[in-house]
Amino acid sequence: MLPLNEQLPVTLLAWSAILLTAFFLGLRIHRTLAAEQQKQNSVVELVHAELPQTQCGRCGFPGCLPYAEAISGGEPINQCPPGGEHLILRLARLLNEPPEPLNPRHGTPQAEPLVAVIREPECIGCTKCIQACPVDAILGSAKTMHTVLTSECTGCDLCVEPCPVDCIDIVPAASQWTQRPLNRYAISRGLV
């Protein structure tokens, strides 16, 4: 057995080596975890930025952010009917996944922009549609007629179901004809 005065430096050295290794290992693990977390967050953000923000819930999740989180957790990317094929292609490119056609269980892609229209003489002013509208596109107050701000309406049809007198119709938006649907078609078919 070595004398104490000779043993001490060796023990100290050994202990300090072990502690240092543990410290750096811990730091490394912490950094990796943080980076992973950040990556996860940024994926959620990127996916969320692509989603159409109609908040219609047709994907089966209550809003666009929950669906973005679900996608980053491995949910299929083909569940958003308002985004359509255009969105699926963009998400596929973003996440490096093979694109798949829209899942028909969640609806069919919108061919043109839609808006909700209240048949105003029939409206009883119950404010139920106002509470249901996720983008605050319906204007009105209790016992007065309500109306839809067509420029803000996303055509998500969440207001149709709560209406007690069924006076809300979903109609094609009377906006100016644009190239947009055609462009979408062109992208989805790989024509450009």
Partner: protein, 516 residues
């Protein structure tokens, strides 16, 4: 004398730019005859949309109303400087969302014009006259001239450039204009200088337009403007390219040249300004080149605005199989015959039913097999790089094509697709006959759409966040209310009466206390 003047001028350094193409000019046949005033057409079609269909005018007349020449037909509701006048007298026969039709009576009864006869004309006078005349830029986009001048004046304009460089094949309306109305163009340019308070004025003409250069010498001597010659290349007449070659300054895509103190006005606009300021005449006509191999006598017309394109063609002796006897009745596009409005490289196919002369119409071309061969099959890109050499804004069209086909938004932006001026030089030189410029136009449109969509979705998201916070607030309030105990004594008429009686008693007590 002419050749001497030309030699003297062309000895100086030509303003030029990198890239560009030199397509055959094909203007000799058209320039053989002088500018001719058109007869009054039977019907005139006045478009109610201006500036790339972004602004819409509201009619000030009704169907069946008789109008006289120079009468106001339509105005813009917000902007009084956007205005449309009747080019001749007649009756309004139709008003739709986009056009207004006048059946002319052939009498040409005019309102009396109030010209400016005073010696001293002030800046405000000029601006007012230009605004009242409803002049828009005659070069291409049709931006309202008054607005442009005001924009430039507020930015402190340094130089006015009068653009007489029409670089496309067949188009020679500016050359004919300067050849025959040089003094009016120069006067108009001086008015423009005065209105914008520009320090210097330049008239830019391509060096191969000898007759125009010779004609403008005399009026220029008495004025403060100078003449600069441009290399005879396409697209020398594009606003940004013109500024680049004359001043060496590159205007970024995001800025308007007028904001940078450079005011570019077309030569035709200068003539219209002269008419408006000196004669008080609204903008009702412009010089239009009508050219193409199927025409017997191609000409430059001083055409009334609203003249149908089919009338212009028939006045030039348009003959084509199946169209010889009555061209205006059933003129249709076929494989080899197309009617193009604008230059052959940047123009568009005419809508034969209601296409008419507007302030921005420079040229009407009837195509033929030799000069406009049908586009053959597209071949693969062989990476020859001709397109990159031809590109006047120094982009890489072959890379852009690749990214356009993949629709790679990131790379399209980083390769500067937004700077593309859509001149078509790349497609012109491409040995594989790839319609590059069409690809770029479509990609630009798609980029614009997706940017718009993104900003819309951001707005929706913001509204959704507001809604969510409000929902949360309501939910909390409901929880709180549920937690609170019920009111001890529910509301009833009896209770209310006793409460009122108590309150009255309290008040009485107070009053009596005060008296004491």
């Amino acid at each position: 004398m002419l050749s001497q003047a030309v030699r003297w001028l062309t000895e100086g350094r030509l303003a030029s730019f990198s890239g560009g193409i030199r397509p055959p000019k094909q203007t000799q046949r058209t320039l053989r005859s002088r500018v001719m005033a058109t007869p009054i057409p039977e019907r005139l079609i006045m478009p109610l949309t201006i500036y790339r269909k972004q602004e819409r005018l509201t009619p000030a007349v009704r169907i069946g109303e008789a109008v006289r020449k120079y009468q106001c037909l339509a105005t813009h509701l917000q902007d009084p400087d956007l205005i449309l006048h009747a080019p001749t007298s007649g009756m309004i026969t139709a008003i739709t969302r986009d056009v207004l039709e006048i059946q002319s009576d052939g009498l040409d009864q005019a309102l009396i014009l109030c010209g400016n006869t005073t010696e001293k004309i002030t800046q405000a006078d000029i601006l007012q006259s230009i605004g009242r005349a409803g002049i828009v830029g005659q070069g291409g986009a049709g931006y309202p001239t008054v607005k442009k001048i005001r924009l430039a004046a507020s930015a402190g304009v340094k130089v006015l450039i009068v653009n007489a460089a029409e670089c496309e094949p067949f188009v020679c309306c500016d050359e004919a204009l300067i050849r025959e109305f040089a003094d009016q163009v120069v006067k108009g340019a001086e008015y423009l200088m005065q209105a914008s308070a520009a320090d210097a004025g330049v008239i830019a003409i391509e060096s191969d337009k000898h007759e125009a250069i010779a004609a403008i010498q005399e009026p220029l001597k008495a004025s403060s403007l100078t003449l600069r010659l441009l290399a005879a290349k396409y697209p020398a007449g594009d606003e940004r390219i013109l500024i680049k070659s004359l001043t060496g300054q590159e205007i970024p895509d995001s800025a308007n040249p007028a904001e940078r103190g450079i005011l570019v006005q077309n030569a035709g606009t200068a003539k219209a300004v002269f008419d408006a300021v000196k004669l008080g005449q609204p903008s009702i006509s412009r010089i239009v080149t009508v050219a193409g191999a199927p025409l017997k006598t191609p000409k430059n017309f001083s055409a009334l605005l609203g003249t149908p394109v089919s009338d212009l063609l028939s006045w030039c002796g348009f003959e084509h199989e199946g169209h010889s006897e009555e061209p205006s009745a059933h003129l249709q596009h076929t494989d080899h015959l197309k009617i193009i409005v604008g230059g052959p490289l940047t123009g568009r196919r005419a809508d034969m039913f209601c296409e008419s002369v507007q302030q921005t119409t420079t040229c009407v071309i009837a195509t033929d097999k030799i000069n406009f061969p049908a586009s053959g099959p597209e071949h693969a890109c062989i990476r020859c790089g001709f397109c990159a050499e031809a590109c006047p804004v120094r982009l890489l069209p072959q890379q852009l094509l690749l990214h356009s086909r993949n629709f790679d938004e990131h790379n399209l932006n980083s390769h500067g697709l937004h700077s593309c001026i859509e001149c078509g030089a790349c497609a012109y030189v491409c040995p594989s006959k790839i319609p590059l410029v069409q690809h770029f136009r479509q990609s630009k449109e798609i980029l614009r759409d997706s940017a718009a969509e993104r900003s819309e979705s951001q707005l929706r998201q913001a509204r959704y966040r507001h809604w969510q916070t409000r929902q949360g607030r309501t939910a909390r309030r409901q929880v709180k209310q549920a937690a609170e105990p019920e009111r001890e004594t529910p509301f009833s008429r009896e209770n209310a009466r006793s409460e009122i009686a108590e309150a009255v008693a309290r008040v009485k007590e107070k009053k009596s206390g005060k008296r004491q």
